[in-house]
């Protein structure tokens, strides 16, 4: 008897033989840019499993790293926090140095633009301990030629006057102090009147008649009448005008940044000097100083 294979067996054999030959074909046939067909098939067939596997491994790794492998995270966080603080400090120092460089550049520019004016630059080393007075202490004193009642300015405008002089330091009374002030005048109308401090960040211009037209935004400069400040040093800008009898109440925003002084210029003479206006002076300073301009 000859054993006749069942239909199922022969179909299985047919499928196997065809599959083997298909694979044989796939090994030989090349697709233009994708290599041999067997590789294309293999990659296509494996792709869903690879993707699933990658997804699974990613999840497993995520669970592991986020929930189980955290024993070193606290130390690492602490180290990073320390490093972050150090970096912040470094950045702060660098920013300070950059700002200081800008300020020094502004001073240098001011000095170069006023070569004939005897001046000395100083650094603010202390401020008044209380709120009752607005004074600062600078690192220039008698040895540097500083004397009482000398004008103290910045490239932005008037700051105040020297009220006490020591060997190496001096005290400066700011314009915003209740005792501070300077002879002033409106730039456009040349109307004169003293500007005095109120103990607040802004100042008041006094004795301007009610009839005078004083628009908000008008610039105010020194008049030179106080024998301390030379003429035409910027004092500030009119920010508020109220009618009064017999004088207006004019509130002035200081031109110099009196609440954050770091470097100042002491004019070593009280003789009249030609002071360039604010716009001309501001062309000289570095970018940081220029950026701080309103």
């Amino acid at each position: 008897m000859v054993a006749i294979p069942s239909k199922h067996k022969s179909l299985t054999l047919l499928a196997g033989v065809l599959l083997a030959q298909l694979l044989l074909l796939a090994v030989q046939i090349k697709r233009d840019s994708r290599g041999r067909l067997i590789r294309v098939w293999a990659i296509s067939a494996a792709y869903p499993f690879e993707r699933s596997g990658a997804w699974g491994f990613e999840k497993i790794r995520g669970v592991w790293t986020h929930y189980f492998a955290l024993q070193d995270t606290e130390k690492e966080n602490e180290a990073l926090r320390v490093e972050n603080d150090a970096l912040k400090l470094t950045i702060s120092q660098l920013q300070g140095r950059a700002a200081e460089a800008d300020r020094l550049a502004a001073l240098l520019s001011f000095k170069q633009s006023h070569e004939k004016v005897p001046i000395v630059g100083g650094r603010v080393i202390a401020a008044s301990a209380g709120t009752a007075s607005r004074t600062v202490e600078i690192d220039r004193g008698e040895r540097d030629g500083v004397r009482r009642n000398m004008a103290v300015i910045t490239p932005d405008g008037a700051v105040g006057k020297v009220i006490e002089v020591y060997r190496d330091t001096s005290q400066v009374l700011l314009l915003t102090d209740k005792e501070g002030g300077a002879g002033a005048m409106l730039v456009d109308t040349r109307t004169q009147g003293p500007v005095g401090g109120t103990g607040e960040p802004t100042m008041l211009m006094k004795y301007v008649a009610t009839e005078e037209n004083v628009p908000v935004g008008e610039k105010i400069v020194t008049s030179g009448m106080d024998k301390i400040f030379p003429r035409d040093i910027p004092i500030g800008t009119v920010v508020e005008v109220k009618a009064g009898n017999p004088f207006k109440q004019i509130r002035v925003q200081p031109a110099a940044k009196l609440d954050r002084l770091e470097t100042v210029i002491v004019l070593l003479t009280q003789a009249p000097v030609e002071f360039k206006n604010e716009a001309q002076v501001s062309q000289g300073p570095g970018p940081a100083a220029a950026a701080e301009k309103p």
Binding site: V2, P5, K7, L13, L14, Q21, L22
Partner: protein, 177 residues
């Protein structure tokens, strides 16, 4: 065991033929050699597919799907090997495997001894054979291949006619019952 025996398929009694030793091998080799060398001297002979005819004949006669498909596979792969580097191994192999299987399966169910039946079967198998090759060309090799045209119909008819005659000659290789 070398005698002809009967395969019962329902109520139909179909003979399963045995051949002289080496007859299948010899027929296959001759067909392959003829297919490889004949068209070199007589180009019009390329219209014939003798390996396919041999596959069909022994498939129909042996009526065993497993041996039929294996014979088809061997003949097809040999034809691939002899067809040069442009034909990948498995191209004819797959086609003739299927033909061998179909021929054996049909041979186990129908009486295929009548010349008219043989003509029809060869014609049909030729078309199926061509269809499989076109499918492979299109799907695997991304090459345009016609499914069927007038030339192929004529080729199918020629193969069917000559195949019918060839089958009569091959019948002489059978052992008598």
């Amino acid at each position: 065991m070398n005698e002809t025996y009967e395969l019962r398929s329902g109520e139909t009694h179909i003979e399963v033929h045995k051949f002289y030793p080496g007859a299948v091998f010899l027929a296959a080799v001759v067909a392959l050699v003829f297919q490889a060398t004949g068209p070199v001297y007589f180009p019009k002979l390329s219209i014939l597919d003798l390996p396919m005819l041999v596959t069909i004949y022994f498939g129909l006669s042996r009526r065993n799907p497993s041996t039929g498909l294996l014979l088809g596979m061997v003949i097809g792969l040999a034809q691939d090997a002899l067809s040069g580097p442009t034909v990948p191994l498995g191209f004819y192999g797959i086609a003739k495997t299927v033909i061998g299987y179909l021929a054996s399966s049909i041979g186990a169910r129908l009486d295929t001894e009548h010349p008219a039946a043989r003509f029809a079967l060869i014609f049909s198998f030729f078309v199926v054979h061509q269809g499989i090759m076109a499918l492979i060309r299109r799907l695997l090799q991304s090459e345009p291949e016609v499914w069927l045209n007038l030339h192929l119909v004529i080729a199918a008819a020629v193969n069917a006619f000559l195949g019918t005659l060839l089958f009569l000659a091959l019948d002489r290789l059978r052992r008598s019952s």
